[in-house]
């Protein structure tokens, strides 16, 4: 009888390690394991496979309601303005490039807004992606007001009857008040030139980030009211487990995942596939 309890402890530690090293976080890990144990105790089951399966099921039921799809063939309004925001280096510009190519392939008229007017070569980087995707890019001089680019891009999109405006923004740490204010202003300016814009405010998260991703989600959501999430670099060995806590705390759809640096490396978020990859 004592032997049975021993297996339990070892297994629990093993599971705890898998979950924590997937960046799920200590508290969420405890909750998952505790709920699994309760479920199994009720059914009087006590084997490792059932415990693992219960945790997987919990994760899927937490993430499934967060599967989201951007309206592509059923646009409620055009041009549909999508802002891409997030901290530095997470993959905003690259994700826009991938999405633009994808939309173009589905015969959508897309305009890119190079509203990162700060970082060295941010505009040339987006311009090259525009070329790859076969779509136009609206850009201003380095150092100019990013809100002016937003205004210009939406106006151009309206005149050219574009379906989408994908707005690239500068990477910014959520702790920088002035940069968060700049982002808010860009949203206000978009609404000014086209009431209701931006229609999507997406936070791009990097799967290699740890618990700080939760702070990023909190602060960006508080600042501009996010409408969805994108998780990049899932082709890395990182599992992106923080998304569980984020899914639990925020009713935000996870629209897309980045799985590489190429134009085709963009997929819809699938809860089952995500959980499967973690184990």
């Amino acid at each position: 009888f004592a032997g049975k309890k021993e297996i339990d402890e070892e297994l629990l530690e093993e599971l705890e390690e898998i979950l924590i090293t997937s960046d799920i976080g200590f508290e969420t890990t405890q909750e998952l394991i505790e709920t699994a144990r309760k479920q199994l105790r009720r059914k009087d089951i006590n084997n490792p496979e059932s415990l693992k399966q219960s945790i997987k099921n919990q994760m899927v039921s937490l993430l499934k309601p967060r599967e989201g799809r951007l309206p592509i063939d059923d646009l409620p309004i055009a041009p549909y303005v999508i802002f891409f925001a997030g901290v530095n280096g997470v993959g905003k510009t690259t994700t826009i490039g991938k999405l633009a190519k994808n939309l173009k392939a589905r015969d959508k008229k897309v305009i890119l807004a190079a509203a990162d007017t700060f970082r060295a070569a941010a505009t040339p980087q987006l311009a090259l992606w525009g070329e790859k995707a076969g779509v136009d890019v609206i850009a201003h001089q380095d150092g100019s007001d990013p809100s002016a680019v937003v205004y210009d891009a939406i106006q151009s999109a309206q005149h050219r009857l574009a379906d989408f405006v994908l707005v690239d923004t500068a990477g910014r740490l959520h702790t920088k008040k002035n940069l968060m204010e700049e982002l808010k202003k860009m949203c206000r300016v978009a609404d000014k030139v086209m009431p209701g814009a931006p229609h999507e405010k997406l936070l791009v998260l990097d799967a290699t980030n740890g618990q700080n991703a939760l702070m990023q989600a909190k602060q960006f959501h508080e600042a501009i009211g996010l409408t969805g999430l994108i998780l990049t670099k899932l082709d890395s060995t990182a599992k992106g487990g923080v998304i569980l806590q984020i899914a639990h705390e925020f009713d935000l759809p996870i629209y897309l995942i980045g799985v590489g640096e190429g134009a085709e490396d963009l997929q819809n978020f699938d809860a089952e596939a995500f959980v499967q990859a973690m184990f």
Partner: protein, 293 residues
């Protein structure tokens, strides 16, 4: 904060007696929780807490500070010791020109950090940096480093996207000497540590130019995967050190402890902002306080 949590654990223990095994166990639980929240790796936390536990048991409870504060001091000192107690410089050994290679995952801050390093060297007055854009894969990567080089008035190799990174590095060394420069800072494309062909490419660059220093650039927000990444890069390249970026955010930066504990290479510098001047030598005591939260 950890101090507050530990004070709660020890609130019955006043200025007399010893810290016992029982009250240490709960304290260790709080420390473990705090370090995991700070993104320190699961296994590193385990061995760290075991070390601290040994040091904590039997410690005389002082009357001048709370037992909670005593434990925090043990944890803090242990962290500082682990993180490395001296600021380590760039390794510039042998005969110039000294090649310095920066490597790391996508988006970690390599290109920006090269410019910061070059600026720091120029300010120091003893070295003349030469910048080498050897990332031919990311759109406008060459433009990015070229623009930064202009900002700091440092010479930059005229790379083309049709060139091969190994050849760029080799030719750049010759150009640097011609330009009267002694430190050659080589920017590389971000890559996953499991991307075999790209990791092999780094080894080829290393063999071609025999770098004086090889630095792994790591984002301070990196989670549990920091260990696997650092181990792989270190195994392939025998790193000279680590640079931690984006410390101007609110990430606790536990990846720093994980990496140092596992590959035992010095964290040499930290990036504390997007501007060229936002660069400092690594301070283990500041990092320890930050990780503890």
């Amino acid at each position: 904060t950890l101090t507050e949590r530990l004070n709660t654990v020890f609130k019955k223990l006043k200025g007399q007696g010893k810290i016992t095994e029982e009250n240490v166990r709960e304290a260790m639980r709080q420390i473990r929780l705090s370090l995991l929240e700070a993104d320190v790796h699961y296994k590193v936390v385990k061995s760290f807490v075991a070390t601290v536990q040994e040091k904590a048991i039997g410690v005389e409870v002082l009357s001048s500070i709370t037992p909670g504060q005593q434990i925090v001091k043990i944890v803090h000192d242990e962290l500082v010791e682990l993180l490395g107690t001296r600021h380590t410089q760039l390794r510039l050994t042998g005969v110039p020109p000294y090649p310095v290679l920066l490597v790391g995952l996508q988006g970690s801050g390599k290109t920006t950090t090269i410019a910061k390093l070059a600026h720091m060297l120029k300010q120091g007055g003893k070295h003349r940096p030469y910048l080498v854009p050897a990332d031919v894969q990311r759109p406008a990567a060459i433009d990015q480093l070229t623009a930064l080089a202009k900002q700091i008035h440092a010479p930059c190799y005229p790379s083309k996207t049709s060139d091969n990174p190994v050849r760029i590095a080799e030719k750049a060394i010759q150009e640097a000497t011609r330009a009267g420069c002694d430190v050659v800072l080589i920017d590389t494309a971000g890559r996953l540590q499991v991307d075999e062909p790209l990791m092999a490419e780094l080894q080829k660059i290393k063999e071609a130019v025999n770098p004086s220093d090889i630095l792994l650039v790591v984002d301070a927000m990196t989670g549990q995967e920091a260990v696997k990444v650092a181990e792989a890069f270190n195994e392939r390249l025998d790193l000279g050190g680590v640079i931690l970026t984006k410390l101007d955010g609110d990430a606790r930066g536990g990846a720093a402890l994980s990496i140092k504990a596992v590959i035992d290479r010095p964290i040499k510098f930290v990036g504390i902002g997007e501007k060229i001047e936002d660069f400092e030598p690594f301070h283990p005591d500041r990092m320890a306080s930050r990780i503890l939260g």
